[in-house]
Structure formats: C-alpha cells, structure tokens
Amino acid sequence: MKSTVSIKGVLLKSTLLAGALAVSTASARADVTIGVLVPLTGELGEFGKIVAGAVELGVAEVNAAGGTKCGNLRTVVADTGGNPEVGIREATKMIESEGAVAVVGPTSGVMVALVDLAKRTKTVIMSPYAGTITLNELGGDYVYRTVSSDLGDGAASGLWLTDQGYKRVAFMVQNEESTISPAQVARDKLETSGIELTDYVVYNPGQPSYQAELVSVLANEPDAIYLAGGQQSGVTVIKEATAGGFEGEWLFTADLAVPEVFDAVGAQYLNGRAYVEFADADSSLPEFKAFDALYQEKTGGEPGPFAANSFDMANLIALSLESAESCTGEGINSVIRDVADGGEAVSSFAAGKEAIGAGKDINLEGASGPLAFDASGTPAGAYSIQQAKDGKWENVKFYPASAFE
C-alpha cells in the first residue's frame, strides 16, 4: 500500500495532472488514521474532552471537503489519564496496530515521554496545550505543538513591565523550572530595556512565611514586583509584602489569574494595582471568528480552552498530507513547516486543498493564530494582561503574536 501511495504522491507533483488524478484515484483511496491521545479522565479530563471534540470537528470538516489525496481521515481515540506510561502504551498501539500517521492531543508529560517513539517510528506527534519548555529542546522534528511555549509568557511579562514605564522592578520567582524559565526571559527583556532589577529572588514553595525573602525586596522599594508563583506561596508573599509597606504595583503569572486570590488577599489590596499575564487566543482574528461560528453551529456550545488549537492540528495534518509526497508520518514531517508558513494565506482545509491543487504554496492561518513553527516546532503565542478592578480581573491589554516579532 505504501508504494502505491508514494507513486501517487510523485504523480501529484505534476500540477497539470493533479485535478484529473484526484478524481480518478478517489475510489482507490484508503482512510488515513490519526490517533487522538488525550486525558479523558483525571485532573485534565475536561481539557481532553474539549481537545478530542475539536479534533473530531476538524476531521469532519476535512472529510466533508472531500478528504485528503491520501483518503478520508479516521480517528482512533485513547485516554491517557495524563499518565506518560499509559500514553506510551496507547500511542504504540495506535501506531503499530492502527497504522496512525500522527498522534495528536498529548499533555506536557505525555508529549515529552513520546518524543523518542515519534522519532523512531517516524510518526508526527502534536499537542494543542503542552507549554513545557522541555519541548523547546526536544521539539521540531516529528514533534510539534499548536500552542506557544511557557517562555512566551516571560516575553509577554517583560513587554508589559517595560510598557508600564516602571523604573525599578523586583522579581519573586518560585523555585520550579516552569516559573524560572519564563522569569529569565522577562528579566532579559528588562535588562535590555535599561530597567533596574532591584532583586531577583528565587524562593522555595511550601513555607509558612516568606518574610526573609522579602527583607531586601521591601528595603529596595521597587515600583513593581513580578511574582511568578503558585497560589499558596503567592498569596502569602502578597499579604506579607502589603503588610510590610509595599505600595507599588504587581504583575502575577497565570496561576494567580483566579478569582480566589481576591478573597484570600483582600480585594482592596489588589484593586487598581495588580495585573496578571496569561496565554490567550486572539479572538479578534477572522480565522478564530470563523471557527467560533462553525463550532457553535455544529456543537451548539462555545469553544472551550484549546479548542481552536486542537482544530488547527486536524487542518495542519490534513493539508500536510495533501501536499506531501507520501501519505506517512515522514511525509507530513517533511512539509508541515511549509504548510504553516510562507505562501498564500488560507484559513480552512477546503481553501488550502484548492490552492495546493493549483500548485501554490500555502500558509495556514490557524483559528488559534499564526502557526509558523520555530526551530522547536512551536508557534508564537498571544497573551492577555488583566487588571484587578472591583475584586475581579478585567482585560486591559492584549499582545497578539505579532507583538513579539
């Protein structure tokens, strides 16, 4: 089967024959299998269901538009429960028994565990929500994601701290890779902008008090404190700094972008002077609006978190199959970067298929934003800044992906 498929691929390169061949070989096409490997149970179960649903929606759209030149897409779904071991077992089954050419939807831990398998079996793996910076090292070849890296949060934070015009900023960073790495990016941005970094404190979570960590921070009286920490440590730091006389502003990271913070700290200490930064979809893009309308029409509900990123995965794979020389993971891997960047902008499979059929290069503009991959197989993300107002978080600034170019 593989040889006939690749011959077909070579023939399709001839643009003159493309249209005619697509029709004549349609009856001989077999389905192409995509593994959907998500947590349907456990802590992240709700996200997994959203991702699986949005991938299915994307696949249905692809098939409704006549499928790819390799055939219609077919999905096989498996639950990881967020467990990397289960993830490896299920992915192996998908690839070896079901012949999956791509496995989409793993969470960060599962994604990292699958890197070796993906490269060895030449199968594309793709995640719509794995922000882990480990993939910044491991990703790029067979390993992709349609969400930005956690490092992007650092870039957005750095941009905001610079835009606010603070002269002196202190950093309080929880001792974990996921908080230190973005903080380092924000710190670099501040240093190149000439903002004085009064303190850079890395603290251990789980302490009853952070007074020792705050001694120097408070003594230096910064204009703002960048606090990258969890809720437990973050709330204590905010309260102790406030009680200790800190009168400047705050920038928190995504963990503190929850309403509980207002109850725990006291809204009056946050209103007007606290901000949070987190990764967000660019809902102003026409591609997102089109996806939103389609999702509501087909499912009757609003798209949940990462739904757009998941829908994009289905389109990326389908269009890669459409333009690849072979209907394999290797084929997808060889063209996926070209499909996502540099060519005629298309925003749906149908439009992309038509353009490829006409011999054009395409640039798939995703529902979640631009999908152009960097060396690690990661697109640039968009970020929101919210401000504490009347005991609630309210949008004050949106940084689209283009803000970081």
Binding site: N204, A212, A243, E260, A264
Partner: protein, 287 residues
C-alpha cells in the same frame, strides 16, 4: 547593617515557629522513643480545624484556636493509643515507618474533606510595627510570645508537677521509672496529649501566618527533623536553642546566599554542629 539586623529578627520569628513545631515532636521522641513523622500532619489538622471554625463557621480566632488545640491533642492521643501502642514492642523502626503511614492517612483524609486549593483565615491583614529601622508584624510578635510562653510553662510543668516529673523520669530511663512506681500508661497518655496539643498550637500559628493548602503542614517535617536532630536527646531547652539557631541561620543566610538555599542552610548547620558535638546540643547520650 539594618538589613542584616532585619534578617536576624526575621530569623528569630522563624526560629520561634520552629520551636513550637518541634517541641512536641521532641517530647514524643524522648518519651515514646521514636520519630513521629506524622507530627507535622497534626499541625495541618489543627490549622484546618482553626480555619473551619473561623472562616467557615464564623467564630472569632481565639476560641477557634483553643478548640483546635484541644481537639488536636485528643486526636493525637487517640492515634497514639490505637496505632502506636499496640506496635511499640516491635521496636522504634517499625513505629517510625508506621508513623509515615499515619502521615499519609491524615493527609489523605484532609485532602478528601478539605479538597484542593488555598484557604485563609478570616482575620485582618497583619499590622507592621517599626522600631530602630526594623519591622515586625503583630502576628510575628504573637508567634514569638507564644514560643516564649510555651518554653516557660513547659519548664514549670516538667519541673513542678507530678505528671511532669513522671514524663522526665520516663524519658531518662523508662524501666527504672516503671520500677519506681510511675504509671507508665498514664504518663504515656499525658505525653501524647501534651505533644499533640503543642502540634495543635503550632498549627494555629501556621494558620495565622501562612496560606493553607492540604500539603503545607507536611512540608515542615524536614525543618522539624533538622531542629530535633540538632537539639539531640535530653532536655527540651536544647530544642529552644536549636530552633533559634536553625531559624536565624536560615534567614540571615539570605543576606549572602540566594533564598532558594534556605533548607540547605538548615541542614548544613545541623551537619556542622554534629561534627563538633555528635551528641547534639543537649550533650546527653542515651544510656
């Protein structure tokens, strides 16, 4: 210079919290003869009882704290009688491992009852007082005052009361104490009530200064161990000195060393001290 003094002052507060958290642990170690790893979880039990009464039921903080301390004391006594008493004859290693199991059971129960997320007491934000360029909050002063009060009352209790003297006799030589007519079971129960009550007091302090999550109490066990090891066997006064040494060393170290290394400092102090004085601060060896 003021900055260094501020670190030292913060260290005194940290040390006082460690004293409160460790003193009951050391008492159990002396009288019952094992390291009760579940002691740290008892801080959590007390902290969440305080939270439940104060933030959920709307009680003022003082009665909430008192009820939490008493309740924790009796929960500790019940665990001692149900779990540890029957297996004590199997040796300290077995009891130690069982106490790890008890810690997991308590943590699991707290997680099931309380759930995930953060909890805080319904109390005002701390008020800061300044003198000579140093600052201290009212809650920090409460921790220091209670540590001092606990040290004094415990000394009086152990030296002046019949039960106190019995506890001291038991901790020095259980066989001899028994042969001299001391009611071993009664004394053991008094010890469980006392040590768990002290864990309860430390738990109320934890609720007062920290943001609670169901895993925060267990995070304190390593520092409790550090203080207990540094103190060594014998007198409880050495716990007070050890708590202050570890607390001040950890916080003052932040002046020169990144704060992420605070736990490392705690154990470095313990290791250096034990190299010089292998018996610990109390200089007492078990006969």
């Amino acid at each position: 210079m003021t900055l260094l003094a501020q670190y030292a002052l913060t260290g005194v507060v940290t040390g006082c919290f460690l004293i409160l958290a460790t003193i009951g642990f050391s008492l159990t170690r002396q009288v019952e003869g094992f390291l009760n790893i579940a002691h740290a979880e008892m801080l959590g039990v007390s902290a969440f009882i305080t939270w439940g009464l104060n933030a959920v039921a709307g009680w003022p903080i003082v009665p909430s704290g008192i009820v939490a301390i008493v309740a924790t004391a009796f929960i500790g006594l019940a665990i001692g009688r149900i779990v540890y008493d029957p297996i004590r004859k199997l040796g300290p290693a077995v009891v130690l491992i069982s106490s790890v199991g008890v810690a997991y059971v308590i943590a699991g129960l707290m997680h099931a009852v309380i759930g995930t997320g953060i909890r805080t007491l319904d109390i005002p934000l701390a008020t800061t007082y300044k003198a000579f360029g140093l600052r201290i909050t009212n809650y920090q002063m409460i921790v220091v005052a209670l540590a001092a009060l606990t040290g004094v009352s415990l000394a009086l209790f152990l030296n002046r009361t019949k039960t106190g003297l019995a506890i001291r006799a038991m901790s020095t030589n259980p066989e001899l104490a028994a042969s001299r007519g001391i009611d071993v079971r009664q004394t053991s129960r008094a010890t469980w009530l006392l040590s768990s009550g002290l864990a309860g007091l430390a738990g109320v302090m934890l609720a007062l200064i920290a943001t609670l999550s169901t895993d925060i109490a267990f995070h304190q066990i390593l520092q409790i161990l550090a203080v207990a090891i540094l103190a060594g066997l014998g007198s409880l006064y050495s716990v007070i000195v050890a708590g202050l040494i570890v607390g001040i060393a950890m916080d003052v170290s932040v002046f020169w060393i990144p704060a992420g290394y605070r736990p490392l400092i705690a154990f470095a102090v313990v290791i250096i001290a034990l190299l010089v004085r292998p018996e610990g601060l109390s200089m007492m060896k078990r006969s």
